[in-house]
Symmetry: C2
Subunit: 391 residues, 2 copies
């Protein structure tokens, strides 16, 4: 029985991650025969989780293999993303489509727990109210730019927002009042999982995801599993010390951290614009660098040097298959790739880097949001028919 | 049947790692009842792999629970350890005792593959010749101070010995002529596994082992599994860049690597003894530092600073339960602990370090050798009765 339930979950997971799949493709991926797929699909279809369609564009002889699709409009989760300078809430359907969303720029002042939770809950309730009446909320996931305690979603430390030991998960759950638990994760951890499931890291179980917001976060997969460590706080890549002598002060209290040398403040300071802030200001510096303005180009080359040292260290330590640049680091890497490559050539062991690929995020600004959504879908995918939709 | 074999292997693994265990303790660890233990033990005893004894010092009422012991003198492996400045070969019994060994200081000149393999094979054959006639060679394992390709034991890169793509595993197997495969691993990887199995890391599945030889190696466990990465070359801790501006040149071609700043050459240079070499010379510097000689104490404080930066970075990245100092780093850490602690306090995130313990190797100079022995025992432990002892 347990085995049957996990087969149902596995099939649903395949169509959730990969989108429409033929019965034949499902049979091959799951290592079972087509009649088993037929039975599992029928059960999931009866529960309204998937539907079957004849394949489009079938030609030639032979029976067409029906395509199984997730019921994206019927089953959805609420996904939240708390970045330093904006809040996002979205209704994400089974299969991953963003069905509806709210993004608000967030003032950097007044970022206390109550304010953030109130704003998120308001957006979440709006999304729920706008959902079709016959649709089902399957879960809630949230990404947060800080160190998150597994289990209860406590923010242990979020230096950019000044949070220490704030009961974010519990408070958001209470404020939403949906009767659904809120699964919280570190934004870069969730981004790494999302890139592995459906982004630039698909097929690469040894993966490093670097996320640039105001700070720099990291999510690392080792053998396809998130590196949590002893307590779930692994991959604090942004606070790896790369510049020990005379490095820039970091919000964490140290100096010379990767985040201090490559984050938003470092970029704007290097470009002579320390009074500015925000990702648009960063993008303006990068556009000027790309356009050949010497001061901005020199600034970004310097940033690329530090970023390259950080990546070289990660390659030596993790022998990854892929390193993915996400968030604002997409743009940073795009302009600083030569410096990053030079540092890797100089400091990463040839054997460690011979198979490492560098890639831009495949999910762009939604990597962390989609990672949060997947966290919300976890209970449904673990046991599709027993899941409690009583809400 | 497969399940039965894996139960036999699990029982044998328990007594191999933990030594004599009562039937009751085995039943509890394996989650089966005592009659199952009785049956498994009888099969292993019939094959000569374990024996049972009444417990010593039984007092009071109740039936004594018999103790199951590995037949350490009957089943053994050959274990080799190739360090930069010495070669070790040992006969290690089931359960871990070193039954016989040969250690030779190695000249740093003439360290080509043929010479090293010939010396190891000579020592190995001597050990085999001296083994009891009714005893059984169950496997061969080897630790090497370089990057090892999984599968065939090719040394991809061993900077301290100047090796690139040398077929070490295959050549040692051929030279030994025992008809047994030689399982090769990176010395620090094997040290990490040994410390987890029976050393200072027992019970800590998120573990970092730092090994000081002439260079600095690392072995990292994530969730109880060795961090291999995409190709098996993970945890090149010694080549993490810690001093990017004006760092000491490293044998790998970079500069400012952890190894360049904390390895043998760095210690001897800092102490004003660059013409010396060898671990005895390093230990002499440390003894002088401990005795209060100012120059040596200052030298070791500087080494401790760099070591602390490296450890702080590892704590931020891995959120480990324990960091273990092995090889010569035992002595280095013992004298430089204040500087290491200060750097961790300064650069490691409080949440990342709150549960991290720093420990000296529990297996002292034999961590890597015992890790190699466990590699040699792997086939026997995987399938105790089907193992081919035809050699």
């Amino acid at each position: 029985m347990r085995r049957h339930r996990s087969s149902l979950g596995a099939l649903l997971h395949h169509v959730h991650v990969s989108g429409p799949l033929s019965r034949a493709a499902l049979a091959e991926r799951m290592g079972v025969n087509r009649s088993t797929i037929l039975g599992l699909t029928a059960e999931l279809a009866a529960a309204g989780l998937v539907r079957e369609e004849p394949p489009s564009g079938t030609t030639g002889a032979g029976r067409p293999s029906f395509v199984v699709l997730p019921e994206s409009r019927r089953f959805w989760v609420l996904a939240f993303d708390v970045a330093v300078d904006r809040l996002t809430a979205a209704r994400v359907g089974l299969g991953g489509p963003v069905l509806d969303r709210r993004d608000v720029a967030r003032s950097r002042a007044g970022a206390d727990l109550d304010t953030v939770v109130r704003e998120l809950a308001t957006m979440g309730r709006e999304l729920v109210a706008a959902a079709p009446a016959d649709s089902v909320a399957a879960g809630v996931g949230a990404a947060y730019c800080g160190m998150i305690r597994p289990g209860d979603g406590m923010v242990r430390y979020g230096p950019e927002m000044g949070w220490v030991d704030q009961a974010f998960g519990a408070e958001l759950e209470r404020a939403l009042g949906l009767g659904l638990p809120v699964a919280v994760g570190n934004e870069a951890h969730l981004g790494a999982l999302a890139e592995y499931a459906r982004g630039a890291g698909a097929g690469s179980p040894d993966l490093i995801y670097l996320h640039g917001d105001v700070g720099v976060g990291g999510g690392i997969l080792v053998g396809g599993k998130l590196l949590g460590g002893e307590s779930g706080y692994g991959a604090e890549v942004g606070h790896m010390l790369v510049n020990p002598v005379g490095g820039r002060p970091c919000l964490c209290g140290s100096a010379g951290c990767l985040e201090a040398e490559t984050g938003e403040h470092a970029i704007l300071a290097a470009a002579g614009r320390p009074e500015q802030s925000g990702r648009e200001a960063v993008r303006a510096v990068i556009r000027d660098a790309e356009a050949g303005h010497l001061a901005e180009a020199a600034a970004m080359a310097g940033i690329g040097d530090w970023l390259g040292i950080g990546v070289a260290n990660l390659i030596n330590l993790f022998n990854p298959g892929v390193v993915i640049f996400g968030g604002v680091l997409r743009e940073v890497y795009a302009v600083a790739a030569p410096e990053v490559a030079a540092r890797i050539a100089q400091h990463a062991m040839p054997v460690s880097r011979e198979r490492a690929k560098l890639r831009l995020s495949g999910l762009a600004d939604d990597a962390t949001l989609l990672g949060a959504a997947d966290r919300g879908f976890a209970a449904l995918l673990a046991d599709p028919l027993q899941h409690d939709f009583s809400s």
